[in-house]
């Protein structure tokens, strides 16, 4: 008998994130250029940080309402009316959470019975499957196609529908591919969800990071508001990853159920982060737009850079990732990532960390300086030439 034997079997069966191994290799090197980071390279804009400091000085150190400070919920509600013309009641339809991660966990736990199935288009964020599984659900991976720029279609989802299918979990703009779904694409998913009476969990954390167009909010589509659990937060758009602050928006029944779990497990999101989030929504937009403009320029640079060195990629339209195809190198995506970091000291993440259909691709984050992007591209080019 070991301690290992005493662990819950379901937790034991969850594989650790595939990203971890590369982190361990990279952490030991000195001159690593990392394209492996899934967070902004900016620090939180000063006015947002300053408002948190001011709150602490005035003694804002207590719990808040379980659902989050009223002021923050009001700002979130206002934001959604102004931006997407979709309204949520501040008292019953908004829950402030510890990042989108918590909101995702709550959403899945609130709706899933043991054995319920969740359709998850892949490649996708590493938590989707694991959280579904730990909420006693069954994650059903649906591979998206590169030919379709990793958008998912009802035709691809249809074969995976069973009587147990309860929900579909989508995340666009997408981590790791940078894919987005346009209004027509989403309308088809909306019809599909309605036809099969599915709940839609829509993770829109990268929504503000959409380039050359506007983000389409799934809940704002006709008849989708109540069917959707909309997840969003401050981490990516306002460079606030470490604050751990996000929220969920949905019908009162779903939000009440999620709040029940939240109040017993978390109680409330940290008041410091909530105060900063209020400031972000009130006055943060100009800083956010400046960061988005920077990401956009880097996006062009890295996209053209990969084209020049002969690695094909579709043009990413959202988030801050590009997902080039590396099959011409002759390596698998894991081998490519591992050899690259060992010989050229460039860290990136193999596509398979985000689902089987990510094979042959690597995820590169361009949330890093222009100089580093250029240098990383040089090193990757050198790598390709020396492994011909």
């Amino acid at each position: 008998m070991t301690w290992q034997d005493k662990l819950s079997t379901s937790v034991k069966s969850v594989a650790p994130s595939g990203i971890r191994r590369f982190f361990d290799i990279a952490a030991k090197m000195k001159d690593v250029i990392s394209l492996g980071v899934g967070e902004p390279d900016f620090v939180t804009p000063w006015p947002i940080r300053e408002s948190c400091v001011y709150g602490l000085e005035r003694g804002y150190t207590s719990y808040t309402a379980n659902r989050g400070m009223l002021k923050l919920r009001e700002e979130i509600a206002r934001h959604y009316v102004e931006k997407f013309n979709v309204s949520y009641d501040v008292d019953t339809e908004i829950l402030v959470t510890v990042g989108v991660s918590e909101a995702l966990d709550l959403a899945l736990r609130a709706i899933l019975n043991p054995g319920d199935e969740v359709l998850i288009p892949e490649p996708c964020y590493v938590s989707y499957q694991a959280c579904t599984f730990m909420a006693n659900g069954i994650p059903v991976s649906v591979p998206a196609k590169i030919e379709n720029e990793f958008r998912i279609t009802p035709e691809e989802l249809e074969p995976f529908i069973t009587p147990k299918t309860k929900a579909i979990l989508i995340g666009y703009p997408n981590n790791p591919t940078g894919a987005i779904m346009e209004r027509d694409d989403l309308l088809k998913i909306a019809n599909f969800a309605e036809a099969h009476d599915l709940i839609v969990i829509s993770d829109e954390i990268y929504g503000d990071l959409t380039y050359g167009g506007v983000h389409e909010c799934f809940a704002a589509l006709p008849k989708m508001r109540d069917r959707t659990i909309l997840l969003n937060g401050f981490s990516k758009a306002y460079a606030m990853t470490g604050w751990r602050i996000g929220y969920a928006l949905s019908n009162p029944d779903f939000i009440a159920a999620m709040t029940k779990i939240h109040q017993y497990t978390i109680l409330c999101a940290p008041i410091t982060a909530q105060m900063a989030a209020v400031e972000a929504l009130k006055r943060g937009e100009k800083y956010m737009k400046k960061m988005v403009a920077d990401y956009d320029r880097r996006r062009h640079l890295i996209y053209e850079g990969f084209k020049t060195i002969g690695l094909e990629s579709f043009e990413p339209r959202g988030a801050f990732y590009i997902f080039p195809n590396i099959e011409t190198s002759g390596f698998t995506s894991e081998a490519f990532a591992e050899k690259l970091i060992q010989t050229e000291h460039v860290a990136l993440v193999p596509g398979t960390a985000f689902g089987k259909c990510g094979a042959g691709h690597v995820r590169c984050s361009y949330a890093t300086s222009i100089d580093k992007i250029s240098e990383a591209l040089n090193r990757i080019e050198h790598f390709l030439k020396s492994h011909k």
């Binding site: 994130s17 990203i19 590369f22 982190f23 990279a26 952490a27 690593v32 990392s34 492996g36 980071v37 899934g38 967070e39 390279d41 964020y125 590493v126 938590s127 981590n175 320029r297 880097r298 062009h300 640079l301 996209y303 053209e304 850079g305 860290a347 993440v349 222009i370 250029s374």
Partner: protein, 159 residues
């Protein structure tokens, strides 16, 4: 064009190729636009912002407030020109308020600067008063924080 200026103001070492990719233009277009901006003297020079103190230089910088008697026809311009022609003078602004010109001077020592003010600036015809303030420390210059700790604190690989 404005975007080129903003990018170059922040980092003059960006290559034409980088600018072309970032702004979705050809290198030829970028070169042409920059040439126009240079010709029209919108781009004046490409400098680096240097923390000389860190390099070990202990030059002295002083801000001088100068009051003037304006002259017929040319107002303050002629006197300003007599002042800004000196190499020691780094910056000259015409100001509203209690004084007329704000002049920033660099010299090797306190004495050096004081001497320059006394023998060169103060005697200029039309200068009625000078007040010198010596700079003790630069915290931020042209939008750049001098001692910013901008280490990347992120983990090397993150989901």
């Amino acid at each position: 064009m404005k975007e080129i200026l903003e990018l170059l103001e922040h980092n003059a070492r960006l290559t034409t190729g980088e600018l072309a990719s970032m702004l979705q233009k050809s290198e030829y277009e970028i070169e042409k636009e920059i040439a126009v901006l240079e010709k029209e003297k919108i781009i004046l020079s490409y400098g680096a912002l240097i923390n000389w103190e860190k390099f070990g230089d202990d030059n002295v910088t002083a801000v001088i407030e100068i009051n003037l008697t304006p002259q017929r026809e040319v107002g303050f311009d002629a006197i300003a020109e007599r002042i800004y022609r000196f190499d020691e003078v780094r910056t000259v602004y015409l100001m509203s308020g209690n004084f007329d010109l704000l002049v920033i001077i660099e010299g090797k020592s306190l004495k050096d600067v004081a001497n320059f003010v006394a023998t060169r600036l103060a005697p200029i015809e039309g200068v009625t008063q000078t007040r010198s303030h010596f700079m003790l420390k630069a915290y931020k210059k042209d939008g750049v924080i001098m001692e910013d700790d901008d280490r990347d604190r992120r983990l090397v690989v993150a989901p």
